[in-house]
Subunit: 210 residues, 2 copies
DNA sequence: CGGATAATGTGAAAAAAGTAACGAAATGCT
DNA sequence: AGCATTTCGTTACTTTTTTCACATTATCCG
């Protein structure tokens, strides 16, 4: 199943929560399409791929659809996540409350610098040495890498050794991982570069215009 | 030109810097392909779309290719960027040194909370009221949104009113923007959800397997 | 110097993703 | 109840993206 499809499912889900809080009890493919910026066909096709069906004229029932999407996406169950690196970015993530409403909970952070222990809110910042054992004991499946580039591969290796299956990586390098390990990279410099390219091109050199 | 192509160009560029620092003077499409995880054909096709050419047997000269990529991507010129919101995420961004090596500089941050002024390093945190004028006077073209969801659309509107053309948005909402404005969204909860889906599926319900 | 080789550049083929179109079924209205 | 209407679900089509394949040409080496 394509990654893009899954991303859209998450977006539908978020849109549905907004519709729900607005008092909607049913939605049409048009509504969802507008909400996330795709065509109604796309919505229906995405749904049909997962056997999500509505009523021929009544659209989709918001609560049912939400329940099914949460089940498909795994967001009906709680997921515990750890963070490696409690520096600038790591502490921002630790303090963020927004993950919990998606049923995702950061349970611990790990850093080689012990002094980071204090300043990161409620979530404990533990010594990095303890990470692998913590991961194993608590059956953690997802880890976030927020350490400097040079340390990222090593951290990934330790995560995998502990049994982690998915990594969200903020370091601007390509991690070498075992078969079956899922890695999503967030490269912010690259996002900015990308924006810069697209705002420069239209008035730009003439190169690169199709 | 496709966004994905541009992202790959940025990746090639990063890989090339690493090759350069390793002493490489020329590279082949194979090297670049391995480095960023695509096929050699893809590399050559990407390059050919921008008239980037190498030598039939000697590959590509690293320094020349880098110069051309930097020109195409706009990274040969410095770009000034502002941040709205100097909270957890905003301050992490402000303190990050990594953007400067891509010739991107955060010149100011803006927050409605004046007390944020102190704790954000060298870059000044100014009152949000001053943002629009600052953007205009300094000809800022790119803004980063790191304010709470509810404030994000308003911040985007002010940015656009000041003349900003590209937005990197961390708030988990879809911004409504004028024609021609480029928006890149970074939705971290969604990235985590996505990872969770893909690590759950293989052993999962059997649903959703193609 | 000339043939062997290795790597490019590109057009054609394949695959993937997205869009449109339309029959079928549920709803509401008279 | 019957009819008109609306919206789904699915199939067929279009567009985009990626991969393949190979002619072309620069380089190496005897
Ligand atoms: N801060 C940002 O806004 C930002 C933006 C883009 C990318 N990034 C990337 O995110 C990562 C983290 O950035 P940051 O600004 O938080 O850096 P930082 O230097 O503030 O924090 C890194 C933390 O990792 C810890 N650390 C170092 N080596 C470690 C190891 N082997 N094991 C465990 N912990 C270790 C350090 O003690 C430090 O606390 C970097 O790879 C950076 O390139 C950050
Ligand atoms: N912190 C994270 O790790 C994280 C993760 C995912 C998403 N996000 C998103 O990033 C955004 C920022 O998150 P955060 O954790 O830094 O929040 P935060 O609450 O720490 O910081 C938000 C800052 O924005 C300021 N602000 C509020 N309204 C404003 C306005 N109208 N104009 C200017 N400034 C204003 C506040 O004073 C505050 O300093 C949010 O949209 C959040 O959903 C953050």
């Amino acid at each position: 199943m394509s990654k893009h499809t899954i991303i859209r499912l998450s977006r539908y889900k978020n849109a549905l929560y907004r519709f729900e809080s607005l008092g909607f009890v049913k939605v049409f493919s048009d509504n969802l399409a507008d909400a996330i910026g795709v065509t109604p066909s796309q919505v229906r096709k995405d749904f049909s791929m997962f056997g999500l069906s509505g009523n021929k004229r009544g659209g989709y029932k918001v609560d049912e659809l939400l329940a099914k999407l949460n089940e498909i996406l795994g967001t009906n169950k709680a997921h515990n996540v750890i963070v490696a690196g409690a520096g600038n970015l790591g502490s921002a993530l630790i303090k963020y409350k927004g993950f919990e409403k998606e049923n995702i909970k950061i349970t611990a952070a790990f850093d080689i610098d012990h002094s980071k222990g204090e300043r990161a809110g409620e979530i404990p910042v533990k010594p990095f040495d303890e990470m692998q054992e913590y991961v194993r004991q608590n059956d953690i499946r997802v880890g976030i890498i927020a350490v400097p580039d040079m340390a990222a591969q090593h951290v990934a290796d330790v995560m995998m050794a502990g049994g982690i299956k998915g990594i969200l990586n903020f370091a601007p390098i390509r991690l070498r991982v075992d078969e079956g390990i899922v890695v999503n990279n967030v490269n912010l410099a690259l996002e900015l570069e990308n924006i810069i390219y697209f705002i420069c091109v239209p008035m730009g050199s003439g190169k690169g215009i199709k």
